[in-house]
Amino acid sequence: MSGNARDHLAAPPYDPQLTDALSWFKATFEPIPLLPGNIQENRDIVAAITPTLAAAMERHDGVVSSERVAVGPRGEIELTVVEPVVRTEAARPAALVIHGGGLVLGDRFFAAGEAIGLTERYGAVAVLVEYRRAPEFPGTAPVEDCHAALTWIAEHAAELHLDPERLVVTGFSAGGGLSAGVALMARDLGGPRLAGQLLGCPMLDDRDATVSTRQYDGIGVWDRTNNRTAWSAVLGEEPRGEVSPYAAPARATDLSGLPPAFVDVGGAEVFRDEAIDYASRIWAAGGSAELHVWDGGFHGFAGFAPEAWASRASAVATDSWWRRVLRLDGAGPALVPAEEGAVALGGDAAVGTGAGAGADVGAAAAPPVAGPSAPGGEAARGGDAAPSGIA
């Protein structure tokens, strides 16, 4: 697996509805490949386009934020607590929201969009964590900060009016890998009990040995080169000796006893195969996991092209899982209305297998939604619809 060995494996093609957004992502977030010598330059690029918290919260009047500080093994950790303005009588679900950026880039506000969404959709208290990044803080430093944040949330359950039985860890890309690591740590160290772990296009495996990493070498976003650079910043150059599973969860040999996992990944990205393997190993150990792999999806596609059909369907599946793990009733987002000329089954659930009739997501109850427009519009360019983070 030498760094320059390019196998040129045939790669699954991108969904045509996603290619504009892919180009935009590439030009905006990854104008230069991530290399050991330009991590700071890449940090500056990401920082320049990450909306401030104030900007992210504009037009979200039902949501407030506050700044808090947890203490971890390496000192203070900044937290931002995002919660509904109106405090319900019932204790609220909570989420630790961990940002992406390949463990080397980005800050907690990169994931502000996801935190705001969880608060608005589920009435959740969402906590953003400013974990220490590699290479300055390598190895398990990032995941230990995240675990300290989780502990902080559990310790402040009463003050934050949280339901400790409905605490979930979530993140995309590096945030997904860190979420998996936090779940492993919480299991092994007797940490807070988690109701679920959402692993969005998760960065789990430092070994760079899958088919999908060879397929997306120099292709797409968060390609093999970026990924190798990031892991080297975290764990040093290859060959590596023993690697902590908390730092690279794919290294874990025991995936039993974990909270229900939601694993969602693009079919056309480096992380495809490691995500599938992680879900498969949870099942093999008798654990609960849900896996969605989207045809032609690039890394983080759902956040960058939210209007594309695949992205909408990913949002629907994700929402379905949140409502199941948080034990919430009620309707999720509509996919799209039935096509013109489709047969109206009527409101009675007695027809069909029943799966379509009477469903919350049925067209009748849905607000009118236009068909997918060209991706890369305002919604795809940050702001309140900003993706929860990339690698």
Partner: protein
């Protein structure tokens, strides 16, 4: 993890699915005798097609079409929007029913098709085929392939756009769907717009972890599966890697050049791992596939637990993929 029992702890069922699986567990297990005894039975446990479409703007037509060369004719049911206009050419779903290749009838899956007809303006062709053990491999596979070729050839008269035929099926029907895709590729037959595989039965070897996890458990147990493969392939080839790929598509060594695949399966069933592997092997050769594994879903969860949240979400995912392959 020291004992065999611990190694094969099953993934638990979804809380909305578990009571249904439990209730079904009371039914007697499938046997060769029960398979043969079912031949005389009529009626669908999932509702009579004529009753299901009653009052809906759908025309239901039973027809008989030619089978494979030298073989009996095939029965099909065609579901068409009643307001189809002359010259209109709609996307189509060519459905192959499930039942382990040993039981079942196309009428059982009318509801599954109606759910999709409620979201898409489509024509559905629902095909019957010969069952094992009376008619072992290749009878069923050749029947459903012949039906697909006929549907494609007669698209114009059926109101179908021949370039927008998606072949679909659940369980054995999913396995047959994968086989039809392989056969169409290899025989340079008609090109399908996509293959929609619902909990497909594709691997005869029973060697995966999930095939071990659902012994005596679930809506399609390991034991039922072993019996079905024995009926289809005979004792000698039942679990052999020498089985042919049109019988057990997991045996195919080349998965390149196939139509876009949609693969859906429950996490709590026998077929989980073989279905995940099939998707992975399609991607590995640069092909198009989409994979959805629903947490806690038993085999055929959408039909047994249609109101469960995972069933409704699964339908949304299918709907989305169909829009994309028909775009």
């Amino acid at each position: 993890m020291s004992t065999t029992e611990q190694r094969f702890v099953p993934v638990p069922f979804d809380p909305e699915v578990a009571p249904i699986v439990e209730a079904m567990g009371a039914a007697p297990a499938m046997s060769l005798e029960s398979i043969l005894a079912s031949r005389g039975e009529t009626g669908s446990p999932f509702g009579d097609p004529a009753e299901l479409v009653k009052g809906l703007p759908i025309t239901l037509e039973d027809r008989v079409i030619p089978g494979p060369a030298g073989a009996p004719d095939l029965e099909i049911t065609i579901l068409t929007p009643s307001d189809l206009t002359p010259g209109e050419a709609l996307p189509a779903l060519y459905n192959i029913h499930g039942g382990g290749m040993v039981v079942g009838h196309r009428s059982w899956e009318t509801g599954r098709l109606l759910d999709l007809m409620s979201r898409h303006r489509v024509v559905c062709v629902n095909v019957e085929y010969r069952l094992a053990p009376e008619d072992p491999y290749p009878a069923g596979a050749e029947d459903v392939y012949a039906g697909f070729v006929w549907t494609h050839a007669n698209a114009a008269s059926l109101g179908i756009d021949p370039e927008k035929i998606v072949v679909m099926g659940g369980s054995a029907g999913g396995g047959f769907t994968a086989a039809v895709a392989l056969m169409a590729r290899d025989r340079r037959g008609p090109v399908m717009a996509g293959q929609l595989l619902l909990c497909p039965m594709i691997d005869n070897t029973g060697t995966t972890v999930s095939a071990q996890q659902y012994r005596g458990l679930g809506t399609w147990t390991r034991e039922a599966n072993d019996l079905a493969w024995t009926c289809v392939l005979g004792e000698e080839l039942a679990f052999s890697t020498d089985a042919l790929e049109y019988a057990a598509p997991s045996r195919a060594t080349d998965l390149s050049g196939l139509p876009a695949a949609f693969i859906e399966v429950g996490a709590a069933e026998t077929f989980r791992d073989e279905d995940v592997e099939y998707a992975s092997r399609i991607w590995a050769v640069g092909g198009r596939a989409e994979l959805h594994v629903w947490d806690g879903g038993c085999h055929g969860f959408d039909m047994y637990a249609p109101e469960a949240r995972i069933s409704r979400a699964a339908l949304d995912a299918r709907d989305s993929w169909l829009r994309r392959v028909w775009a």
